[in-house]
């Protein structure tokens, strides 16, 4: 990969590595309590500490609310704090130690308010409101809000009552998920420097253009005066999506008159960004015939979205689609509530809501099968979507690889074989969307035959941007090592949605192909002129344009670029992604469907695991995992495999160990000792296979890749635990105490 050498030699610079002349160290004062009124802020003791240059609060920034779905928050706490990680003030000082000491000297008087911590209670009309003025907040069109419910979303398909009446059995279950976190190994870091009216902000953002919009909106300046640069990004997994702390640091640097750097501690990384996986309670009810055909499903999903809406209203839309699952169920009645509480806000973590809802639905699917005497394979093969089926919101399905994935995964894990004692095998299926969005790219062929891509796309580490070089290499016949990429700088590339929605290759790849096709045509035309042949007889191979079948008659790409240059022509092109409309769907018969009325070019997967359960301790070990994915056409198999390997282990972590414990509205385990990620020692063997389908609208038939790998494994682990131990654990994470309790107690303690 193009950025590999600098990453293995320590030369790669990340935001926290940057050092500017005169740079100060910044630090945030966080609320440290879930809900309180601020009666007084006195920063005078902090300001008089030697080495402190600036202290700022909400009084130092424009008084306005922002938010991607609901404009419900301010940069710094405005009279009220609504979660423990809310930023109250910021300090810039000569050293990090001084900044930390100064934070302690800011006197804030808090008057405690009762925290809203349980989303079910919060939905009750008598509940205190997290946002008493919610009705005066603006929000995007089509959102359905009421009190603490900041987005109510439904799917209504067919006639659920009739569907249940036609069923031979109805299975009803409740599943509960704790909050979990994206946990990139690199914590957030932001460096801001003003030059006149312009600010340059080096940030750990997955979405530099959204960050730019956020700074422009909250500090009330034109986007053209805000430049966001992301040096290398140390992972994100959604935790660095949306606009976060860029404006706080920019405002601090402006007041200090010096560049300022803020680097998050791991504690702050757990509590402050508005991007955690939703805690979700999901009630599922499914009707099934004795032959194993699902006739109806109802679901009620309560998503604990924390103190601010962030982008969660659209995630509620996704959650309802995930509750339907990749199945052909003719009658659906699904509702989701997105509920404010006084917790760290939830948002777009990798495949938001996917792993939790699929974990519930896929265990439920096994329970549905069990009721009619079918195993996990047989119940799914009867109900999975196929080409031509009607999706949950009415879209006509195409390029569906769902059954192929199931067959492949079941075969790789030998699903039908009896497991060894103490072990069990489970599988789970899922679907996810691709995300069409505007994207544009510039491509330049240099006079030595090398090429440069200028793109607004953002590399999060997945290799999606690095993979763009392969597309150019393929189209122009040049070595990918001779393709450079200028990326993640908002003053260079065009607007791009960033590293979110698995969209980089899907959209920027299409834009790049459009640009490369133009240059390819120009190269062929120049070569044809030079060699006095028809362009149709030419091919580009290994950096030379040559006559097909006559390899000796050739001219290099570099020579052609030089010749063009000599007569005043540059080989440059702009390409744009053509954004296809979403598939036709039911539209207004479902409430609150704004961003995802349907799933564009859905991807499908089946993941299966073999686990061992220690009955004495409740410890579960995943020994083997297989993953079969339909990504349409796979453009970069090595890159896609890397995405799957990383995603499935993250999913296993969510399944077994990752969960925040809350006490009195605060996380009690906001550090990596008690919030346990999977380690190398825990990692199972992982086998990955692809089921290629054709007809998707991505580049050369590709679908999105980044998010789907994390969705299914947690549910597969749940089913494998049941297969191994005979009990079902309906609380995520299925950690050792919960598995032990399921084995030994009548109910969870």
């Amino acid at each position: 990969r193009g950025d590999g050498l600098e990453k293995v030699t320590g030369q790669a610079r990340y935001a926290a590595d940057l050092l500017l002349p005169g740079m100060l160290e910044g630090r945030f004062l966080l609320a440290g309590r879930p809900h309180a009124r601020i009666t007084r802020i006195d920063a005078s003791r902090a300001e008089s500490l030697p080495g402190v240059v600036a202290v700022i609060t909400q009084a130092d920034v424009p008084q306005l609310r922002y938010g991607s779905a609901v404009k419900d928050r301010t940069l710094f706490a405005d009279q009220v704090v609504r979660f423990e990680g809310e930023v109250v003030a910021a300090v810039a000082a000569r050293s990090a130690e001084t900044a930390a000491a100064a934070i302690e000297l800011i006197d804030v008087s808090f008057e405690p308010l009762p925290p809203v911590t349980d989303p079910e209670t919060a939905l009750h009309p008598a509940s205190p409101l997290v946002h008493p003025d919610w009705h005066s907040y603006s929000a995007y069109d089509g959102i359905v809000r009421n009190g603490n419910d900041c987005a109510y979303v439904t799917i209504a398909k067919g006639d659920a009552a009739a569907g249940f009446a036609a069923a031979d059995h109805v299975i009803e279950e409740r599943y509960t998920c704790d909050q979990s976190h994206p946990v990139p190994i690199e914590p957030h870091a932001v460096v801001a420097q003003w030059q006149g009216e312009k600010v340059t902000i080096w940030s750990t953002s997955q979405v530099p253009f959204a960050a730019r919009s956020g700074v422009a909106e909250t500090l009330q300046m034109p986007e053209s005066n805000v430049r966001i640069v992301v040096p290398h990004l140390g992972g994100g997994f959604g935790g660095k999506c949306e606009f976060h702390f860029e404006a706080h640091v920019a405002a601090l640097a402006r007041k200090a008159g010096r560049p300022v750097r803020v680097v998050f501690t791991r504690h702050d990384e757990f509590v402050a960004p508005d991007k955690v996986n939703h805690p979700i309670v999901i009630d599922l009810r499914t009707g099934v015939t004795k032959e194993g055909l699902m006739t109806a499903r109802s679901a009620r999903i309560v998503m604990d979205t924390g103190a601010y809406a962030s982008d969660a209203p659209s995630i509620a839309e996704i959650a309802t689609m995930m509750a339907a699952g990749p199945y052909d169920i003719p009658n659906l009645d699904i509702v989701a509530h997105t509920v404010y509480t006084n917790k760290t806000p939830a948002g777009s973590v990798r495949a938001p809501s996917g792993p939790q809802v699929a974990w519930a639905v896929e265990q439920h699917t096994d329970e549905v099968g069990k009721r009619v005497g079918l195993d996990g394979y047989d119940i799914r093969i009867r109900n999975l979507l196929e080409d031509g089926d009607e999706g949950p919101t009415g879209q006509r399905m195409k390029a569906v690889g769902a059954k192929g994935c199931l067959e492949k995964a079941a075969s790789l894990i030998d699903y039908k074989k009896t497991a060894e004692s103490g072990e069990g095998v489970g599988l789970a299926c899922a679907w996810w969307f691709s995300f069409p969005a505007a994207s544009s790219v510039s491509l330049k062929v240099n006079t030595d035959g090398s090429a440069t891509i200028v793109t607004g796309a953002q590399e999060n580490g997945s290799g999606a941007v690095m993979g763009l070089a392969l597309i150019v290499a393929d189209e122009l016949g040049i070595d990918p090592d001779r393709v450079s990429i200028l990326y993640q700088d908002t003053d260079a590339g065009s607007w791009d949605m960033g590293s979110s929605g698995s969209q980089t290759t899907f959209n920027n790849g299409r834009a790049l192909i459009a640009a490369a096709v133009k240059i390819r045509a120009r190269l062929l035309s120049l070569a044809a002129e030079t060699m006095e042949v028809s362009p149709d007889d030419l091919e580009i191979v290994e950096g030379v344009v040559r006559v097909r079948g006559v390899p000796a008659t050739a001219v290099s790409v570099g020579d052609l670029a030089s010749r063009a240059f000599g007569r005043g022509e540059l080989l440059t092109a702009q390409g744009d992604a053509i954004v296809e409309p979403l598939p036709e769907n039911f539209g207004a018969s479902c409430s609150g469907r704004v961003v995802f009325p349907a799933f564009a070019d859905p991807t499908f997967t089946c993941q299966a695991v073999r686990v061992a359960v220690d009955r004495d301790t409740g410890v579960v070990r995943v020994k083997e995992l297989v993953a079969a994915h339909d990504f349409g056409r796979v453009l970069n198999p090595d890159g896609a495999r890397g995405q799957v390997e990383g995603g499935v282990l993250h999913s296993i972590g969510m399944a077994l160990t990752e969960g925040s414990v809350y006490r009195e509205g605060r996380q009690v385990n906001p550090h990596l000792l008690d919030y346990k990620l999977q380690t190398a020692a825990d990692a199972p063997s992982i086998r990955v296979d692809f089921i290629e389908t054709s007809g998707a609208t991505g580049p050369r038939g590709a679908k999105g890749v980044g998010e789907p790998p994390i969705i299914a494994a947690a549910g597969a682990v749940g089913n494998a635990i049941t297969a191994a131990a005979g009990v079902r654990v309906r609380h995520l994470p299925m950690n050792a105490p919960r598995v032990w309790a399921a084995l030994n107690l009548e109910s969870e303690p």
């Binding site: 990453k7 997945s462 990596l672």
Partner: protein, 154 residues
């Protein structure tokens, strides 16, 4: 109050003066400008800051700078010699061991400590040895492949 120390980092001797509470990580990054070594948790839990002290892997965020006096420190910047990559660096690139790269420096140093002590580890030994280095991107699959591949590299 600063105290003097001298230490060898990647073969170069440095004489510094530093406060007693400062960590080896802070000395490397902030005083010597060796930012290849990363800080991921400030708490000895993630391994991103791992360096070798007299050949042994140490989380430099939890090791006082003054403790490093008189010792020999190796960081990722010293891994390749004279522009030639260490076999581990090559293997990490070839086997998909690098994605975002933030855990990579600590992971490389941890793996080097293993191969220096045990040139031909089993897969289980590699996984156990890397248990203190967290990675969120790769599922460790490419990293384990890389270490095993480097071990097979004469």
């Amino acid at each position: 109050m600063r105290y003097p120390l001298s230490l060898d980092v990647n073969g170069l001797v440095f004489r510094e003066e530093i406060e007693p509470h400062r960590t080896l990580l802070s000395l490397l990054r902030d005083e010597l400008g060796l930012t290849g070594t990363k800080e991921g948790c400030d708490d000895s839990e993630c391994g991103a800051c791992m360096v070798l002290v007299d050949g042994r892997p140490v989380n430099s965020c939890s090791f006082l700078a003054l403790q490093a006096g008189g010792r020999s420190i190796q960081t990722v910047e010293g891994l390749g010699v004279g522009g030639v990559l260490h076999p581990l660096q090559t293997a990490f690139l070839n086997e998909g061991g690098v994605q975002c790269g933030f855990c990579t420096p600590g992971m490389l140093m941890s793996a080097k400590a293993l191969l220096d002590a045990n040139p031909h580890p089993t897969e289980a030994q590699v996984k156990r040895h890397l248990g203190g280095n967290l990675c969120r991107c790769t599922g460790y699959a490419g990293i384990v492949r890389a270490v095993l591949s480097a071990a097979g590299d004469p």
